[in-house]
């Protein structure tokens, strides 16, 4: 319910932002040497001649799975819908959200997103897994040796990780491991998940994932280290930890069972937030490593004023964020009984 409202808000805001931006998509599509009649025809086809609020209504109607359309052949083909109720000329239909077509390639936007999201998805997942698997143990380790040299070096390392921009780190990584040391590492400076070889066959290239994964995972990892550390320090000073020690439990059991479960909440918030934002595509990292993903496509679309693609991608990301938040709320409740509703 709450998520739905947020999504609606996102759609409206996105819609208006792209409608007040300068730039005329008709120009982009028609080229420069066209007469007024052609231009008007294009504008009409795209619905750009209508007043803004009607455009918004149409856009939302297109987007909504449950919507109203004139029941005719063109529409049936365009939306690929299932009729539910027929009311005169219009029908209430059930369909998958229609994000319109790219101004440029005329491909359906949903198709473009689906094609590119796979690369982004795996990259984001790999990066966040890398960040979590390294970050949490480092954070715990630092918290156990508070104020030692080890603690200080982990902390300064993580400060570097937070402050280094990803395009600098990405470029460094690509240069060092993908080029200078390429003979030892066997890694490419750029590449994508599926590569087509000269025979036209697709190959899964997992090794291409490594460098962008590390680049993208560095920021979240540094933050996870710090959050885990401070959260663990707080939990370890709690009285129930003393109770656990008074029971005669082993040090490892206390840290991994009694302390960590209490310390995880802020870490989960960070991890999920990062995962969702990585899903939006890491624009710089994807372009540095030549990775085929949502970020690269969005950047390209922005440069070409291809509004349906940009809007579609933005709304897709908003949806991902909302689902991620719902998922995290459920996760909180699983871990911490105090969050559970009565």
């Amino acid at each position: 319910m709450y998520g739905f409202l947020v999504l609606m808000g996102a759609v409206v805001v996105v819609f208006f932002i792209f409608n007040v931006l300068p730039g005329d998509p008709v120009n982009m599509m028609a080229g420069q040497r066209t007469d007024i009649a052609t231009r008007e025809a294009i504008a009409k086809e795209l619905g750009l001649d209508l007043p803004l609020h009607q455009q918004l209504f149409h856009y939302v109607n297109d987007l909504s799975p449950l919507s109203f359309h004139k029941d005719n052949e063109t529409n049936a083909k365009k939306y690929n819908y299932n009729k539910l109720i027929r009311m005169g000329e219009t029908a209430m239909v059930w369909k998958s959200p229609y994000l319109r077509r790219s101004f440029q390639s005329n491909k359906p936007v949903s198709e473009i997103i689906i094609e590119n999201v796979e690369g982004t998805f795996w990259l984001a997942l790999a990066a966040i897994t890398f960040a979590t698997l390294i970050g949490i143990p480092l954070g715990i380790w630092a918290s156990l040796k508070q104020n030692s040299t080890l603690d200080h070096s982990i902390l300064s390392f993580s400060v570097i990780g937070i402050s280094m921009p990803s395009f600098v780190f990405g470029a460094l990584m690509a240069m060092i491991f993908g080029d200078l040391l390429a003979d030892y590492t066997g890694l490419n400076a750029s590449g994508t998940l599926w590569e087509t070889d000269i025979f036209g066959e697709h190959h899964l290239q997992l090794k291409n994932l490594i460098l962008p994964m590390i680049t993208l995972g560095l920021g979240p990892m540094a933050i996870i280290v710090q959050l885990t550390r401070s959260s663990m320090l707080e939990v370890l000073s709690q009285e129930y930890i003393r109770t656990a020690r008074a029971k005669g439990l082993d040090g490892y059991v206390i840290i991994l069972k009694h302390a960590l479960k209490n310390a995880l909440n802020p870490v989960i918030t960070a991890v999920s937030g990062w995962l969702a934002s990585l899903m939006a595509g890491a624009f710089f990292v994807e372009s540095i490593f030549g990775w085929k993903g949502l970020g690269a496509v969005t950047i390209h679309a922005v440069m070409n004023l291809d509004f349906p693609v940009v809007m579609g991608a933005t709304i897709f990301v908003a949806t991902v964020f909302i689902f991620m938040n719902i998922f995290v709320d459920i996760l909180y409740a699983l871990i911490d009984p105090r969050v559970r509703l009565k």
């Binding site: 009285e239 003393r242 109770t243 008074a246 005669g248 439990l249 209490n262 911490d336 009984p337």
Partner: protein, 615 residues
């Protein structure tokens, strides 16, 4: 009248734990703190030793040293031995066990319960799981068996519906129930020694008396020894066979309960016994520890002879007669009430569902009416959750009341706007419970006192305000040099003095003290109470004194209001309420307060002696 130490007749091999010259030091930036300094005592089988002392006296550190749970760094046991007569392993020194061996003894032969039941259970595991964990760890039994035993234990500690509690999380239980779970956990492996560190301090008196009953019963059933740590001598008198009094890391006196209460030898013990407000007589001024002793240049204790020669004298020369009290009450009743509270209700809505539909109300204050006369002290007493704090804050409109009216000096203040409200708050001040969190740590003491004056435009310049602030500091017993210091440099009692000075800065007519002495040690509490009384006489304040402690309220108040579940149970003159309580609830409240009654102590300790000899 002669008494012997219970168990002293039995031979020396009967000891269970012999603590010999134990010293535990903490390394701090200010140097080494000797938290426990050369402490020796012997705990016999089945015996209960009470350790008393104020905060920082080293009583908790002694307990944690026995468990070897001192956080290291900064703490370390630097000397002494902890000889334990283990039921299976014979005589061992706990201090020299390896980490693994010590882990095995913890929760098994020696177990511990802590002060704060709210925070000493892990919030993310069920109560059952946490007790089961100990059983599985030490007794190596299957999960089903551990579960069965846990439920049995829950039944033994008198938790209602043990099966249901088993799968409840700590936040779903009340404080008393949580402490019962802690006790069940500590009892799960039939320990020889139970160390209880202030187990009832955070609980209401009625709950406290039930928990003490339970501990006595479990002790007798299992022939267990208890080391009971508390700052409350009343509690000690109810449960202990012998008492150890600690001060600044050292044992200053030890003996049987009767010896300690009948004939305290050390001046500190005398002070400690005298400074508790008494329920039966009304004292003018509470004696404080410094009336009995001081420390000389070398830090040794010296008995002072100036004020009181004995405990009896401290009380005899110093109580208010009934006639005086009656006179005062009559005089008060002739005045026009300063504050009139009529049918006051403060309800909090319980919201449910998607759209926050109000499904009911928590009736924190429910239809309360009373009047306060100028110069009077009204005591508000009741258990936690009875609405006394909400009532206090509703009067100041820190919480908006839902219904009813409040009149101050004939003016309705229930609905006045923010400008008038600020003027009102100048006249009515509040002193909160926790002196640690009610002062801004980033603000000097002087700033904290000047700020309210500046906001309310009292005095024309900051120079004049500073002069006034210093005057106030001296009035509450602090010094001029404290003006530029920060709160962390002060002790709890000193901080509460700062809070009082801050409240006085606005020349209020009316002060609400919300549990203002509850977080303080009894000896410090006595000083602050005396200060409040002295200020009252000087400035003729009206007080509303809110506390859960009936003896403190009785010492302070002309009249007492007993609250229960948001309503007034009973209202009347302090002496009448205490001597002749009308409602069931008040009777139970008075009955639950641990009373230091020598005859009673003698009787129980004789009975215990017999019981110990027979076992």
């Amino acid at each position: 009248m002669s008494t012997t130490t219970p168990g002293a007749t039995s031979n020396d091999l009967d000891f269970l734990l012999k603590v010999d010259h134990l010293s535990t030091y903490f390394k701090t930036e200010a140097g080494i703190v000797k938290a426990v300094d050369d402490v020796s005592f012997t705990l016999r089988k089945g015996e209960t030793i009470g350790i008393v002392g104020e905060s920082g006296s080293g009583k908790s550190v002694t307990a944690l040293s026995l468990m070897r749970l001192i956080p290291n760094p900064p703490g370390n046991i630097v000397g002494g031995s902890l000889i334990f007569n283990h039921p299976e392993k014979g005589i061992i020194d706990l201090r020299h066990l390896s980490t693994k061996e010590m882990q095995f003894e913890r929760g098994n032969s020696i177990s511990m319960i802590f002060q704060e039941p709210m925070t000493s259970l892990n919030p993310v595991f069920t109560c059952g799981d946490q007790v089961m964990e100990t059983i599985i760890l030490h007794q190596k039994v299957s999960k089903q068996e551990a579960r069965r035993r846990t439920i049995e234990l829950f039944d033994k500690v008198e938790l209602p519906q043990p099966e249901v509690i088993f799968s409840k999380y700590p936040h779903q239980l009340s404080g008393g129930q949580k402490q019962r779970v802690m006790i069940a956990m500590a009892m799960s492996c039939n320990p020889s020694i139970l160390i209880a560190d202030e187990p009832t301090t955070a609980l209401d008196v009625t709950v406290q008396s039930r928990i003490l009953d339970l501990m006595r019963q479990l002790r007798d059933e299992n022939n267990m020894s208890i080391l009971f740590i508390t700052h409350d001598l009343g509690v000690i008198s109810e449960i202990a066979d012998r008492v150890i009094v600690m001060y600044h890391g050292k044992i200053v006196e030890q003996g049987t309960v009767f010896e300690i209460f009948n004939n305290p030898k050390h001046p500190y013990t005398k002070g400690l016994l005298a400074c508790r407000p008494k329920l039966d007589i009304r004292l003018k001024v509470l004696p404080v520890v410094s009336d009995f002793m001081e420390r000389d240049m070398d830090g040794n204790f010296v008995e002072k002879n100036s004020k009181f020669n004995s405990l009896g004298q401290a009380i005899l020369f110093n109580y208010i007669t009934e006639d005086d009290l009656e006179d005062r009450n009559k005089k008060l009743a002739q005045l026009e009430p300063q504050l009139r509270v009529k049918n006051l209700k403060t309800w909090f809505p319980i919201k449910k569902g998607l759209f926050g539909k109000v499904s009911g109300h928590v009736k924190a204050v429910d239809d309360v009416s009373f009047e306060v006369y100028p110069g009077e002290t009204i005591g508000l007493v009741g258990e936690s959750g009875c609405g006394k704090t909400t009532l206090g804050r509703s009067i100041l409109r820190l919480i908006e009341p839902s219904e009813g009216s409040i009149e101050f000096e004939g003016k309705d203040i229930t609905h006045i706007k923010s400008d008038d409200l600020r003027k009102l708050r100048k006249d009515i001040q509040i002193i909160f419970q926790d002196p640690y969190s009610s002062l801004n740590p980033k603000m000097t003491i002087g700033e904290a006192i000047i700020e309210p004056m500046r906001v309310n435009r009292i005095l024309e310049s900051d120079y004049a305000r500073k002069k006034k602030a210093i005057e106030l500091l001296e009035k509450v017993g602090l010094k001029k040099i404290h003006f530029n210091r920060y709160p962390h440099e002060f002790s709890g009692g000193q901080r509460q003095r700062v809070c009082i000075a801050r409240a006085l800065a606005l020349n209020p007519k009316f002060i609400i003290c919300d549990e203002s002495v509850s977080a303080l040690d009894v000896s410090v509490q006595a000083q602050v109470l005396n200060l409040l009384n002295q200020l009252k006489e000087e400035f003729n304040f009206t007080y509303i004194f809110i506390s859960h402690d009936l003896s403190v309220v009785k010492f302070m108040s002309d009249r007492i209001i007993v609250m229960n579940k948001g309503k007034i149970e009973e209202m009347g003159f302090s002496e009448d309420i205490y001597r002749d309580p009308k409602s069931e609830y008040t009777k139970r409240l008075i009955h639950s307060i641990p009373k230091v009654d020598l005859e009673n102590i003698l009787r129980t300790s004789k009975a215990r002696q017999l019981q110990l000899r027979n076992s």
